[in-house]
């Protein structure tokens, strides 16, 4: 199965987290790479959406939308950086 880029997940992830993910960055928990969410390797045809680190391939975030809820597993990232602070 082939992957697409993180851009494909910006919409649902932004709505799920209530913050704009367009310029967000993540740090991979496994290899430590800091990268744009848009650079993730995204697998859409799973039960849910699976986002993997573009460097080491480990699973970073899994997003499932079901029964009007988002279930988000983020055990694969060490940090998330989001634009939108008030200062």
């Amino acid at each position: 199965m082939t992957h697409v880029d993180g851009n494909a997940v910006i919409g649902p992830l932004s709505v799920a987290l209530g913050a704009d993910m367009a310029d967000a960055a993540a740090v991979c928990e496994n290899c430590g790479l800091r990268h744009a969410i848009a650079e993730c390797h995204v697998y859409l045809r799973c039960p849910g959406i699976v986002m993997r680190c573009p460097q080491c391939g480990s699973v970073e975030i899994v997003l499932v939308e079901i029964a009007h809820r988002f279930e988000i597993t983020m055990s694969g990232i060490a940090a998330l950086s989001v634009i939108g602070g008030q200062t």
């Binding site: 992957h3 880029d5 910006i10 709505v15 744009a36 848009a38």
Partner: protein, 246 residues
Amino acid sequence: MPVTDATRIDRVPVRQRLAWREALVVASVAESASARTLVLGIDGWDEHCAGQHLDVRLTAPDGYRATRSYSLSSGPGEVPQITVERVVDGEVSPFLVDEIEVGESFEVRGPIGGYFVWEPSDAPLVLIGGGSGLAPLRSIWRAAADHPPPVVIGASARSVDRLIYGDELQSLGATVQLTREAASGYRAGRIDRAVLDDLLACAESEVDTTDAVVFVCGPTNFVEHVATLLRAAGVRPDAMRLERFG
């Protein structure tokens, strides 16, 4: 100064900005044997940034829903448009390419994205697209039309009847490669190191281009192939913007 995503965030909450809303098909243009551009009427549409996309949602009579992302192929000041390539056995694209008619509508949210986006600058631009990967690049070259940087375009398609934006590409002096067909006026074969060196040389002949920006969009295999060539040619990773769509 262009309105940035950051300032939009301050003004409108993201859930509101990314709420689903109706997009009416106001015109439809066949771009190739397998692709179509839909011109959309969207109430309250705000100008987008070149390279952004829309999420599209279709709902079947039984309630089943399918969502896909499509790049905006219109320039920032134009009426919003998406160009859709038919995917065999796809759930969404055959409907958008073959069935939907002017006057009908579907749901969209967006514009979305801040990574595969062109920020207006004086840096030369190299745009390389495979198949319908030319869609966001059209938005970028139209946005860059009034800016000084040279814009160099490389396009790849299987055959003439699968090439989108053929006339516009020709008028812009694009290099067009056909991978499965030989035809006069086009180059045959995949984009290779020689083609890429020509494109980069065109951009670099105009200015000192250590800061050239390269956008690559297309099927995953195509983007991986071109990105590998670009790295071998010495293009810095942070000067590349890659968009793989499967």
